[in-house]
Symmetry: C2
Subunit: 168 residues, 2 copies
């Protein structure tokens, strides 16, 4: 597995669902009526209050054993960014993909690998990696414990393109 | 201390320095030549490679014992957001301030308090708080250990207004 998705646009659950249009967001800018929101973290379950586990994407053979928690995005915020937490189980991997929007990844649980172009970066606790526009990338867990990371992206972003290994 | 700054715009080192104009960012969008950047975290020093400690703001009596590390922002990224790490020493506090841009705060070290409007939220490891537009807020460390948190903001944002306690 890991890269058998061919070269297709990613399913809408990864891309379109949480994205707001510029016009929509601009209309709601400067709205002081928003409510403070606290997501309390539970170390035991490694979950946040008020945040549900979601599917990473629709199953398409390009990824395995990944779940998503959307902390910021699609909940009435006006932020120009979204913050998600992804957790990759042992042996799992995200899609090998490319897009013009950048990723900021912060490892907060376990250890994993971030492949960017042809290079592999080992990530441990609190390591921060910036993935530039257009760089093929994939996150992998080769270990025996869960690998979890925040991934922060622009709220308005282009649709990922799935790649085959040879496109790295 | 904590709120003696009156009602003035924040010093430019907090606001203007790292902010890029929309036009500038749009020009550099879709530039695939960007480089991957890894900031390795060191648990002992609680610092990231390639990231320098900065002053939080110019001293103005409105804050105490806060340092800043800019992880994402002002380094050639095209992101619509910036990510900073702030650390508040025991007894320290950020400015009591208000602005239209939102804050996303993630506590990653120690414990502290986030005051939003008239409410105080205790923050521990990995708790995430969303501070809505226009809400007066302040981060405080009442404990005996450092209190550290990520603060993620829009790259384009309005200038904070310092407030007195009575404005809460």
């Amino acid at each position: 597995m890991g890269s058998s998705g061919g070269e297709a646009t990613a399913p809408s659950c990864d891309w379109g669902g949480a994205v707001e249009t510029s016009a929509k967001r601009k209309r709601s800018k400067n709205n002081p009526s928003g409510r403070t929101r606290l997501h309390r973290f539970d170390r035991k379950s490694h979950k946040w209050s008020g945040v549900q586990k979601e599917a990473y994407k629709k199953p398409d053979g390009s990824w395995a054993d990944v779940v998503r928690h959307t902390l910021i995005g699609g909940k009435g915020e006006n932020t120009d960014f979204h913050m998600r937490y992804f957790e990759v189980a042992p042996g799992g991997m995200t899609s090998l993909e490319s897009h013009q929007h950048e990723h900021v990844v912060v490892c907060i649980r376990g250890e994993g690998f971030c492949i960017v172009r042809k290079k592999e970066y080992a990530l441990g606790f609190m390591d921060v990696i910036y993935i530039p526009p257009g760089a093929p990338h994939q996150l992998r867990n080769k270990g025996k414990k869960p690998f979890g990371f925040f991934c922060i992206v622009d709220a308005e972003r282009d649709r990922p393109v799935l790649l085959k290994d040879k496109k790295l």
